[in-house]
Symmetry: C2
Subunit: 337 residues, 2 copies
Amino acid sequence: MKIVIDGFGGDNSPDEVLKGAALAVKELGIEVAVTGDTDILKKRMEELKLSSDGIELVHAEGVIQVEDNPRSILKEKANTSMGVAFKYLADGNADAVISAGSTAAIVMGGTMIGKRIKGVKRTALVPLMPAKGGVRYCVLDGGANLECRPEMLQQFAIMGSLFMQKTMGIKNPRVGLLNIGTEDEKGRELEQETMKLLRNTPSINFVGFVEGRDVPLGAVDVLVTDGFTGNVYLKACEGMGILMKDAMKSMFFANLKTKLGALMVKKQIKEFSAQMDYKTIGGSPLLGTAKPVFKAHGSSDAIAFLGAFKQAKRFVENNAIEEMAAAIAQLSDKEEA
Amino acid sequence: MKIVIDGFGGDNSPDEVLKGAALAVKELGIEVAVTGDTDILKKRMEELKLSSDGIELVHAEGVIQVEDNPRSILKEKANTSMGVAFKYLADGNADAVISAGSTAAIVMGGTMIGKRIKGVKRTALVPLMPAKGGVRYCVLDGGANLECRPEMLQQFAIMGSLFMQKTMGIKNPRVGLLNIGTEDEKGRELEQETMKLLRNTPSINFVGFVEGRDVPLGAVDVLVTDGFTGNVYLKACEGMGILMKDAMKSMFFANLKTKLGALMVKKQIKEFSAQMDYKTIGGSPLLGTAKPVFKAHGSSDAIAFLGAFKQAKRFVENNAIEEMAAAIAQLSDKEEA
């Protein structure tokens, strides 16, 4: 198996990308292709004393920036490290792609260069979020499609459910539709219509409407919603996480006594921080593409990149895309029938 | 000043309502009317040894329940403790009303019995949320209107801004429009159109788009959004708050050593919990009504009810409704001009 990674995506590139790639070769037994200016990449690998075993460097010019128009990945930015990585994947040279670069460009490039699964209306960005006890749930759409139709959400539910099964090892993932209450009559037309569809989707374990309050406490494995609401939900969680972390810091650093107290719960704090940390998980898949595309967090380090490689590997090994394609095809058959 | 309170609204009614009313009379120097079965109320006051000074009991029959159709507050449930409280207000016997009962019934009753300010398109429920450092910001709409037009959000921005000035004592409240990014082109048509309106609303201090991540960290004083998004945002914050609180508990109760550690930061934990606690603030106003309507939290105790009385008193004293009416009228003049 070979996975291609955007060598210049993310805040800590290329060094942490290269370190992550070397770790992936060693620990996962895969081959890795790294895109970017090969002179720089070669030089950094030497300086970091990284083995080149199993690592191929693929030349690219420049980097697509967050402020660049995401569409430019298809044309004027096609030769950047991200553009070349997508092309490398599309040409069949790799089994999956990872990038920590501009999210919008990944959604655009992944969808347009990587193509969609037949029948898939829209691709969805699918972040994994921490819930109580250190488990993870996925949210889709996390922001790729601001406004969605019920049929899109139905496909998201199917793809998210398969992702959690095939990549995260959850047997019968509970799929919930985000709403402002759990009673049948709650929500907008979108929630009402989508509920009808999801109740008639036998391939998923639909548990009904779910409120945002119950999701971080572990109510569902797959949270389905439109991209605008999903993004607001995700960022609210993130903001509250930062608020609570800051508050804990102030508490423990208040004075000598509290610092002593902090020492006594040090191990527990560390464990909890690890539970809440995106690094232990890796990337967010872009689901609905015909080839696996993973977005790594912009501030990923080598360990986070290794996490993304692990995810991508499991995704490929377990034929997640074939399963999604079959489920989507079945859906279309049903519609036509 | 006289404030009427629904004697049987909330999980801890009528006892905590009565205790809160007695505290309000004593500490705020106001008169209070409590609605409900006067036999029961009288008996509970005696048993709780509460002074009846400044407290009037107003007879009502039964209680409207969360599962009742909110519209019933206008007809078959008009004689319940909440219905009578609204009528008491509408008849001019009190300056403001407080209830910890069914939110949907309060929105319905407050709007229909209390009437709207002239020109106000919709009333909004406006929860106050804790942000970094213990400050508060308000969210509107918090869930009364699932789908909103830009003109509604513009009115919400004006009312929320005046509420934060007149009741929370914030001089030049920063008004932000909730969005998935801060760049001008971000968001749905609703965010795009509303931004144009808010940029042309001189009476508010509009700071532009704001992401949910930055709001708990103190980015704005007034968060404007539609009721669906607002409710999802609020509940995500709530869920993450519970998650973090649970996690802290597990950390500190892990073993003897961590329990000792907990003792050393006890004071700081207590302070932080107080900052995050809705009880220290009281109620959520229903804004846009011609008379002040406050929703207290369903699990309010006497201290939380006292908080709601304090808020309502400041709201009345500072002529918040007159100011809102003037600002809304100005808006209509502008539209007509």
